[in-house]
Structures are given as structure tokens and as C-alpha cells.
Amino acid sequence: MKKILDYGVSYSVLVFFALISLFPFFWMVSTAFKDKKSVFIYPPEWIPDPIVFDNFRNVWEKVNFGVYLGNTAFITVILLVSQLLFCSMAAYGFSRISFPGRDIIFVIFLGSLMIPQIVTMIPLYLLVKTLGWLDTFKAVIVPSMFGNAFGVFFLRQFFLTIPKDFEDAARIDGAGVIRTFVTIILPMASSALVTLGVLTFVNAWNNFQWPLVVLNSPDKQVISVAIANLQGRFTSDWTGMMAGALITLAPILLIFVIAQKYFVQSIHMSGFK
């Protein structure tokens, strides 16, 4: 009897909070399929009447989505690969290789997380402009490409939990640092890498302020800026924005679903070892 009560209470609390978190998404999906005249009906309609598919076609044409999706995908894939690569290398350095001042440098590096992006925006802009990279993809990719403090921290913590025995065994077998890194550490960290990968993907995909400021040409812009353009000074195209947001969300949902399978699989597998 007590067990049923326990489960009952915990599940209802969880479901309650889940519904609250999902509430804006319900609204987004609902509005994306609404006719313009139904958006402001009060009390709000959850199931649109009539259900309309035009919003997706309209926003695709109006906003030239194909180009923006392509630009965003290009930037995101490069950032994803390079960030994972450099973050893991740095994390390995900070966790497994000892060199003078290692821990102090790490703490200072971590401290950089406290600097808000807006503070570095103008100096970085001037730097990028002097390099002649304004209005190019380089300006968006290169500043973030070499890893970020959070990723390094996250992976370092994970690497620290890998027992030293594995590395000792590898060293006995004659493996150097790189070989150990590639053949032993990386595979063991696959779940952490996938997690970081998803986070990096989402961040790069949703990147807004920086590409907005640094890219000028309409054909180079990213998708978050394109959707923001639907929000005018006095009025906004709500149905268009929601439809656009849904389209933008689709790849992220897909990645998440794929990654989830991988999470479960790798946790399951590491149990066998």
C-alpha cells in the first residue's frame, strides 16, 4: 500500500511539472496550425479550428528557409566536430597529464565562464573586423571553434572518473599519450561525448546574437535571425513565427531522439565491463 502511495505521489508531481514545462510547446504547436484570426481568441483555443497548414508554406517562402537552414547546418556541424575534438583533448590534458601550473590554469580557465557574452562582444567584433572576417562564416565559427570552458570542465570531470588502471595497462602495452587517448579514453567517454555533443549542437543551432552582429549579407544569415525578423517593431507574425520555430526545432528533436538511444545503449554496455 505504501509503495503505491509513494509512486503515486512522485509520479503526479513529476507529471505536473512536466506539463508546466511543456505548456509553451503546446501553445507553439497549437498556434502554428492556427488561422490568423484564431490566435487571440480568449480563452485560448488549444485545438485549432480550423486547422491550417498554410503557415508552414508561407513562412518557408517568405523567409527563404532553405538558405538559412543550410547556413545554420554548415556552421553547426563544423562547430560540433571541432568543439568535441578540442574540448576532449584539453580535458584529457587537464585530467591526466601533469604539467606545472596545471590546476591554477584550469581554475582561471573555468573563471572565464563568469564573463557574460555581451562584455566580450565589442572587443571580439573589433578583432574580427581587423582580421577582415566581417560578413564571413569564419567570423561565426572560429571564435567558438577551439572549445569552451564548460565543455572542457564537463569532460575533465568525466575523465577523472575513469580508473587509472586502464591507462597503466595501455602504457605497459607500449602506448603513448595519443594512442591511449584515442583507443582507450575516447571510447569509454562515449556517453559523455554524446551528451556534450547534443548540448553543443543545440547551442550552435540556436546561436543568435553573434551571427546577427557579425553577418550582414542576407544570404549568409542563420535561421534564428531569420525567425526573429518575423517579430516587427509593433506587430508580429505569430503564426508564421510558431511555424518557423517548429521547423527549426525539428532537427534538434531528431538529434535528441537519436542521442537518447545512444545514451541508454552505452550505459547498458559499460555495465558489462
Binding site: 490568423k36 484570426k37 484564431s38 490566435v39 487571440f40 481568441i41 480568449y42 517568405k62 556541424v77 563544423i78 566536430v81 571541432s82 575534438l85 562582444m121 565589442i122 567584433y125 573589433l126 573586423k129 577582415g132 572576417w133 566581417l134 560578413d135 564571413t136 562564416f137 569564419k138 567570423a139 565559427i141 584515442v182 583507443t183 575516447l186 571510447p187 546574437q209 546577427l212 552582429v213 550582414n216 549579407s217 542576407p218 549568409k220 535571425v225 526573429a228 525578423n229 518575423l230 517579430q231 516587427g232 517593431r233 509593433f234 506587430t235
Partner: protein
């Protein structure tokens, strides 16, 4: 096996890097060398046959097609000039503009309006366009607009478009309250509200169906409000302040809201919320913005501008109409605003940029703005085209033209206006939520606002 995977990943990222480098190269723009006005003079802008590329930054996606059409026409007539339109969302437009100003790579042409001009002019970011006023027939533009686009005697933009405030009303709600037409000649005054408030009270209903002013009316449970102004920013009040014979600033820019006529008018608007109960409090508007409330039929009369005609037409589930603002003790006043194309002070191609600015304010381009129903053109002869566009769709825009031809007032502004707005917003939101008496708010705004401006 893993080694192969790593090699593959490294190889792919190398390729990606190379591609990033290659694709970026073609689009790189060389920023103008040198800091001060020197670059404007020394570059080869005068040579014919030399293709000049100009960047034009705007904030409205909806207006882009009309501007593209106008600029295509311009580029046909001027084959050596190429203009690229860059649309930046309104919420980030000024951030991007200021960042570019810091980097000395501002766009050659960009949208501004009355408000930001003093600040930008003081920072020497605007090109002096006074010479254009000799090349163009200035009588074809509204005087208030022309004057407001000047600062310290210099012109920083030709009037290009304008908007005015008028009343939008919900015909269905009016009919329910017993009005077949919008009453003509409504008047307001600071003492008892006048016929305007009497009208609005019949449109304000509590949850028991009682109207404002009736016995047993419950001001804490109102389901439908009579009125909301354009906003609680200074421009939302100027129609009332000037309509009462007052002013927000004196000619030096000092705030004079505490003078009797201005203070009376502000108290009147505050009374609309707390004495007559026909207007929602600030906290209610924060929860549901004015446009949403109007569309949801919770506000019957809304003072706003022509930019709402198309959205209301598309999204309102009720019949609606437009009417002139109520007359105040000093007459029928409307606040107007106008956009203009300003030119970057350090643009390498000032002559070509001025040609573009001149063209966009000329009949050819203005007709396009009117014919497409994009925005009210500033060029007097083109204004009717906008009205015609909307009357074909059953909407009456002539009320705004009538307002333009009456007593008009431009928005208040000054070089440090951003700071005045901060003080304003803080105090007004408290006063309109019932947390501060309006008299205190007015005094705080005048005191702190004038200090911020350096008086």
C-alpha cells in the same frame, strides 16, 4: 578501428575548415581605412564607371519588398551604384548599429527616426544632409516632420514616411453598448473627462455586466475596458499633453512636465485608470499586451497607428473602424513620427549615398510605398495612393491624413533621451499600477530626467 574513425573526423574537419575559409573570402568586405572624415574625401567616389556598393540597413521585413522594388528602379537609372538591403530584427537593430559604429563599419544608409537622431548626431555618426534641402522641393513634406529631423540647425534626413495616432474601435462592442456609429466630436478635459470619458464608461463592463460609473460597478473585476493609449512612453502622452496646451520639453530640451497644463494632462490619463476605471493598469498590460487585448475584445477603443491596419484586418475576429482622436481643451492634436534614411558620417561614398536618400524620398519611390500599402509616404502627392490601397480592401485610412493636416506634434527627444526614458518608465509604471501618486512620478521624472540630461 577507432583510429580510423579519429582520422576520418580529423580529415573531415580539415576539409570543413578549408571550405569555411574559401566561402568566406568572396564575401569579405573591406572596411574603410582611417578614422575621421578623411576617408569620406579621399576615396574615388566621383569616378564614373566605377561600381559603388552601398549597404542599407532596415528593421522591417514587411517593408523590404517595396524598398527592393524602389531600389531596383534606382539601380536601373544608376547602373554604377549597387544597394544591398540588410534586414535586422527591430529588437536588435540598435545593438547591431552601435556595435558597427564602435567598429567604424556602419552601413552607408540606415533607418532612423526622430528619437535617436540627437544622440547619433552628437556622436558625429550622421552625415549632414542639409545640402539636399536645396536640391529638393521641401514644401512637399509636412513641416513638423521636416523640423523634427533636424538637430541644431542641420538636417539629418529627408522625411520618408510618417505615422499618426488615431482611434481604432471594435464595432461589435460598440453596437452591444448601443452605438451604431462612433460618436462625432468627442471631447475630453482634465476636470471631468468630458464626453470622451462618458462614452468610454459605457464601454467598460465588469463581470456582473455593470458599466463604469453605474451603481455597484466593481472596478476590481473588469472584463472589458473602454480604452488604451498607444503606450505609456512619452509619445503615448503627448497627444493629451499638447491637447491640453502643455508641452513635454521646452525649446532647450529641458523637461517641463510639472508645469500646470502638462501635469493636468498626465493626471487625466492616470485618472482614466484609477478614477474613471476605463483603462487597464500597467500590470494587466504586462500580462497581456494592448494588441492582444484589443484582438481578444477586451479593449473597445485603442489609440494606435496605421501600422496596425493590416494586422487587425488579418487577425481580428470582429468588425472594426477608425476615428479621429478626441478634441482636447487646446484642440485636436495628433502625435506624428516619421522614419528617414540617414547616412553614415564616414561613408566612403557620400555622394552616391545621398543620391539614394534623395531618390527614396522622391515621388518615384514614394509612389511605390503608397501603391503597395507598405507605409504612409511622406511626399504629399503620394499620400493618397496609400489611402486608395486600403479603401480597395474596405479599410479607411483617411482619418490619419486628416490628423496629419491638423495640429501635429513630433516626439520629444534629446541627446541623452535614453536615460530620460529609463527614469520615465520606472516612475510611470509605478504610477500606473497604483503604487505611486502621479504627482510624485511627474516630479521624479522632471528632477532625475533633467539631471540626466545635464541641466
Amino acid at each position: 578501428m577507432y583510429r580510423k574513425a579519429v582520422r576520418l573526423v580529423m580529415f573531415l574537419s580539415l576539409i570543413a575548415l578549408v571550405l569555411a575559409g574559401c566561402s568566406g573570402g568572396a564575401g569579405t568586405q573591406e572596411p574603410p581605412a582611417g578614422k575621421s572624415g578623411g576617408s569620406a574625401g579621399k576615396s574615388d567616389s566621383g569616378n564614373s564607371g566605377e561600381k559603388v556598393e552601398l549597404r542599407y540597413m532596415i528593421w522591417d521585413q514587411n517593408q523590404e519588398p517595396a524598398y527592393r522594388q524602389a531600389l531596383d528602379l534606382f539601380m536601373e537609372q544608376n547602373p554604377n551604384i549597387k544597394v544591398t538591403i540588410e534586414v535586422v530584427p527591430w529588437g536588435d537593430y540598435w545593438t547591431k548599429l552601435k556595435t558597427q559604429a564602435a567598429g567604424e563599419v556602419m552601413p552607408d544608409l540606415f533607418w532612423t527616426y526622430i528619437g535617436p537622431i540627437p544622440d547619433l548626431a552628437e556622436k558625429n555618426l550622421l552625415y549632414d544632409l542639409t545640402p539636399l534641402t536645396d536640391q529638393v522641393d521641401m514644401s512637399k513634406y509636412n513641416e513638423t516632420l521636416v523640423k523634427n529631423l533636424q538637430y541644431k540647425g542641420k538636417t539629418y534626413g529627408l522625411p520618408k514616411d510618417w505615422d499618426a495616432l488615431a482611434l481604432f474601435y471594435n464595432k461589435d462592442l460598440l453596437r452591444e453598448a448601443g452605438f451604431d456609429d462612433f460618436p462625432a466630436d468627442l471631447e475630453w478635459n482634465p476636470r471631468d473627462g468630458g464626453t470622451f470619458v462618458q462614452f468610454l464608461q459605457k464601454l467598460t463592463i465588469d463581470k456582473n455586466g455593470k458599466k463604469a460609473g453605474e451603481e455597484g460597478f466593481d472596478p476590481n473585476n473588469i472584463v472589458q475596458y473602454g480604452f488604451y493609449p498607444n503606450s505609456l512612453d512619452p509619445q503615448g502622452f503627448s497627444t493629451f499633453i499638447v491637447g491640453n496646451g502643455g508641452a513635454i520639453q521646452d525649446q532647450d530640451g529641458k523637461l517641463i512636465l510639472d508645469e500646470p497644463k502638462a501635469a493636468e494632462a498626465m493626471k487625466f490619463v492616470n485618472d482614466l485608470v484609477f478614477k474613471y476605471h476605463v483603462m487597464p493598469r500597467q500590470s494587466e498590460i504586462t500580462a497581456m499586451p494592448a494588441d492582444a487585448m484589443f484582438m481578444a475584445q477586451r479593449i473597445a477603443v485603442w489609440m494606435t497607428g496605421p501600422w496596425m491596419m493590416k494586422p487587425i484586418h488579418e487577425s481580428a475576429p470582429f468588425e472594426w473602424g477608425t476615428a479621429l482622436n478626441p478634441k482636447g481643451p487646446a484642440g485636436q492634436v495628433t502625435r506624428i513620427n516619421g522614419l528617414t534614411d540617414s547616412i553614415y558620417a564616414n561613408t566612403p561614398h557620400p555622394k552616391e549615398a545621398m543620391e539614394v536618400a534623395k531618390f527614396l524620398a522622391s515621388k518615384a519611390a514614394q509612389d511605390i510605398l503608397g501603391d503597395t500599402g507598405t507605409v504612409f509616404p511622406a511626399y504629399t502627392d503620394s499620400i493618397q495612393k496609400f489611402v486608395d490601397f486600403y479603401s480597395k480592401q474596405g479599410m479607411d485610412a483617411s482619418v490619419f491624413v486628416e490628423a496629419l493636416n491638423g495640429i501635429t506634434v513630433g516626439d520629444p527627444t534629446s541627446p541623452k533621451w535614453d536615460q530620460v526614458i529609463d527614469v520615465w518608465k520606472k516612475n510611470i509604471s509605478l504610477a500606473f499600477d497604483g503604487e505611486m501618486p502621479i504627482e510624485d512620478a511627474i516630479n521624479n521624472i522632471v528632477k532625475d530626467g533633467n539631471v540626466a540630461q545635464g541641466f
